[in-house]
Symmetry: C2
Subunit: 583 residues, 2 copies
């Protein structure tokens, strides 16, 4: 039963569902539906799919997420970045506009759904953590630029292709002669209007005395206004005959039952993109869900989120959709509009189903330039180059990861960009930890504290080399420590004992164990003692599983002060005792 | 001048070279030469090359390493694992026995040389540290098994091919009907003899009163004895006509000047294998050089070693050789025989050059089965499955890395094996650090120390959550910390303040900074304070580059005890003060 409740969060919130929750969810659903109709059409366009695919992708997935997901406010459906990734992935296996293209989109959603559910069942949600924040930020920013650029062709009314910035710009420039001036006017006006709605309308309405809720609904309805105005203009003036591209006939139906393609070639070609889409989508979705949950002291379960998103994608695969995830904009709108439970999502799905059946004929004359304007205005809010400045100030390694991700995403495409970002952030992390900070320490006079001899006035003993290692020891830094100790002992021929202070060593892996054994062996060959101090409990437990402590050519002291006293008390062999120096 | 001396270590040891060093180097050179003649022929066979390639690969490379290398005892030339890697790499671009095969070997050596020199000039030697000890141990063991298996066909006198264990065994079994019984007898006898020489001869000679040096030389000459005996047997009894495969005509000449192939296809196909060979060869060579240097309190410079090995490989590429590196067996023999400077290597090169000119006709009737026996006996000392047992006892993560490396090297080939080993050890390391140990701590009564509440009798304050994070914070564990704190605060609704103890946090990257900001934001929304204690200097310097400390919804305390006293003194809001509990 508990296990059933784990997999069906619906059983949790469903039991306490009441009239207040219902009416709050209903209001939120109306607002979100109004916002989603033009957005869904636009994202389908971005993915290279027929407009209805965007609406279908918002119906079954929302309901399935409501059953399996753990976030109370997350709104699932097509989002900009995943639509771009979809276009890029499918563009490699099929021509846009062909039946194969739509089938490939279903397969992509199917593979993505299977992968997400598997990750969830195997509880592998933590893998998403390997996408560092700067890499995600860089990737989202670069994707925003790519998406906005890809939509320029609809505003200009020219044809263009390509999945990287140079390809798209080059292809657009070479076709610039095809420019359709009426389309350009519609596109520019729609874009300017939508920017104004986003920035200027809400304050204006508030100044005019509208309540926050009304101001909000009217602002969210901005794209609908643009859609209605431009559709009427195209219809009224017969602009479609002037070469203005329109959406055209959209089937008037509930989401159809569809079957993804299962040919091995198709699956082989789409597997890696599906994994990438799943991981990116999951990371985006979980961040949103976590942020919204925290505001109400609620929790989400990332592994169950994987199952919820997986179910949503499987739903998309069998109902004419394409890959979906939890979107930032729609979820925030849903939350702000007062959604209390996932039922709000289900009501949104009903709203969209009604739209799919009743409203699709109305968008026949809708110019694609308007949809492109909707996309451009939406994605430009994703573009945030300030991450470059912020990381530059904080850490050059993080800056490098962002810069590489942005540059490669723009010039080599989304897959290469994000893969390189992950690889470079892992490598830079390993590089940093492969050269740990190691301080030679001495006693602060009158205390039991030891500090870096280069920063403080401390007492040292020329026969004793005390090194504090400020990093866990593992394969990438094991040899560094070997080299460092070897170098110090070769330089300082007075040294009779080496002490390693392990207070900041949280782990010692097998490579580091072998390096410690090698250090012990080499120091032993030279007649130099080798000692450890301040070893943490778990690290000591681990070391005791090997022969290292038994074979140690020295002692393990509880504290560095104990070690200091021990070597102070013991007169050095073959020389008159010298007092410790203060330096 | 110092920079010239950096790149030419010869200028260092050359200035103090004297008669004693000369005679010690000379003795070592004679012993190593005797050992190398059969070994060089055998490793060329293993690499699929004509036997003389093994001798040529030992001449120019040794001299070039003597000029550029930093180890006093390292002996450079063909080694078993690199020969195997060479066979595996070239087998994919050319047929064995063709001219293209030999040219590909030159190209491989050339690419490897260029890559090593580049790594050295760019001081990238640390990259080799990403091969963890268990991965190297597993790879060497699996390679030993692969090499021994690959030589069985010469012992059986059957034809076989393949680069993985199942391929080789399958192909040998299906050709078992071709078996040549005379070859089998020669092969088995030679193998048994060589094992006996290795294990039993030296103790026997010592018991018979031989000096250690004489016993050592005679033992090292064992393979020469096997070569002489089986060659005489084949010649005397005319066994070559009975189908016993022999070495045949070997050109009688100094190393020829040769030119590697530079076609883009060839370079493209061999680039990755060349990088792999370089890295594996470098790691093997540096370990040997470091071990030997430490015994005499000398040092080697890993970056200069890259240049030395790179020069050696470039030398091999232009003198009819194939990829080389510093070998374990030959270097230890060189060191034990008393080599004092790299001049010993130069003298060995002269010895081998004489052999190449004068002795090659003598090996005409040498059966390949004898060379195979030499290889089998040499590589079985590399096979050490005890690494599985040792890592199992010490750490499951390290065990997994070894097991995967061995299994995949045997079944999928050397490239896949070592690449998977590296990938899995990096992933396991990231996984371990992605779920850091976080302890809730309380005050040990009567002290200023704080300990884990689950392990010790400590005082706690129900309004204060004190967590000690035992790991540096970075992208892979940033979200883990977010989740953990969120979960604790949702559970413990009495909590008014959260304190993170940073004593074991050696670094905070940008992702972790953003997570700390998110935690701060969320705790702020809930009216919970967020505080840090015992932040290290470098970490604090870093945090101060951001707004985090200014925006902190709480304070940074120098010590946890200060924080404890602060919250003890402050009466909790809206409730009667309760004394801290001892639990």
């Amino acid at each position: 039963m508990t296990s059933l409740r784990r997999y069906l969060p619906l059983l949790d919130w469903g039991r306490t569902y009441n009239r207040t929750a219902f009416s709050n969810d209903m209001i939120a659903a109306v607002i979100v539906t109004i916002m989603l109709i033009p957005q869904s059409l636009a994202y389908a366009l971005l993915a290279g799919l027929p407009p209805e695919a965007g609406i279908y992708a918002s119906i079954a997935p929302i309901i399935l997420y409501a059953v399996f997901g753990t976030s109370r406010a997350l709104a699932v459906g097509p989002v900009a970045v995943v639509s771009l990734l979809t276009a890029s992935a499918i563009g490699q296996v099929a021509e846009q506009g062909t039946a194969g293209y739509a089938v490939a989109a279903l397969t992509l959603a199917f593979l993505s759904g299977v992968f997400l559910v598997l990750m969830g069942v195997l509880r592998l949600g933590f893998l998403a953590n390997f996408l560092s924040h700067p890499v995600i930020a860089g990737f989202i920013t670069a994707s925003g630029i790519l998406i906005a650029t890809s939509q320029l062709k609809h505003i200009l009314g020219v044809s263009a292709h390509g999945h990287t910035l140079p390809e798209m710009l080059g292809s657009m420039l070479s076709n610039l002669a095809e420019i359709n001036w009426i389309t350009l006017v519609i596109g520019v006006l729609a874009t300017a209007f939508l920017f104004w709605v986003r920035k200027g309308l809400k304050p204006l309405l508030r100044r005019m005395g509208a309540s926050p809720l009304v101001a909000d609904i009217l602002t969210k309805a901005g794209p609908v206004a643009a859609v209605v105005a431009t559709t009427l203009a195209v219809w009224g003036f017969g602009l479609a005959e002037q070469g203005v591209k329109i959406v055209g006939a959209v089937p008037q139906s509930l989401p159809p039952l569809t079957l993804p393609g299962f040919s091995p070639d198709l699956i082989g070609a789409l597997l890696m993109p599906a994994i990438l889409i799943s991981v990116i989508g999951f990371v985006e979705s979980v961040s949103v869900a976590q942020t919204l949950a925290a505001k109400k002291r609620q929790r989400i379960d990332p592994d169950q989120e994987l199952i919820g998103l997986g179910a949503a994608n499987l739903g998309a695969a069998f109902t004419g959709g394409y890959p979906v995830t939890g979107g930032f904009a729609r979820s925030v709108v849903n939350f702000d509009a007062g959604a209390e439970t996932p039922a709000a999502g289900a009501f949104t799905a009903v709203g969209l189903a009604i739209a799919a059946v009743a409203l699709t004929p109305l968008v026949y004359f809708l110019p694609t330039a308007t949809l492109a304007a909707t996309i451009i205005v939406a994605v430009l809010s994703l573009v945030d180059l300030s991450i470059l400045k912020k990381t530059w100030g904080y850490s050059r390694a993080d800056f490098t990861a962002v810069a590489v991700t942005i540059l490669l995403t723009l010039t080599m495409g989304v897959e290469v960009g994000v893969a390189s970002g992950v690889a470079i952030s892992v490598l830079l992390h390993l590089y940093k930890t492969s050269r740990p900070h190691v301080a030679e320490v001495g006693l602060v006079p009158g205390t039991q504290h030891f500090r870096n001899i280069h920063r403080h006035q401390v007492a040292t003993n020329p026969r004793l080399l005390s090194l504090r290692v400020d990093e866990s020891l593992y394969f990438a830094n094991a040899r560094f420590l070997e080299d460092l100790i070897q170098a110090r002992v070769v330089e300082g021929s007075d040294i009779r004992d080496v002490v390693l202070i392990f207070s900041a060593v949280n782990a010692v892996d097998y490579s580091a164990l072998e390096s410690l054994e090698a250090i012990n062996q080499r120091l032993g060959d030279l007649g130099v003692g080798f000692h450890l101090t301040e070893v943490k409990g778990p690290v000591m437990d681990r070391l005791k599983r090997s022969h290292f402590v038994d074979d140690l050519n020295g002692r393990v002291f509880l504290s560095q002060y104990d070690a200091w006293l021990h070597f102070l008390a013991r007169p050095p062999e073959g020389s008159a005792e010298e007092p410790p120096l203060v330096r």
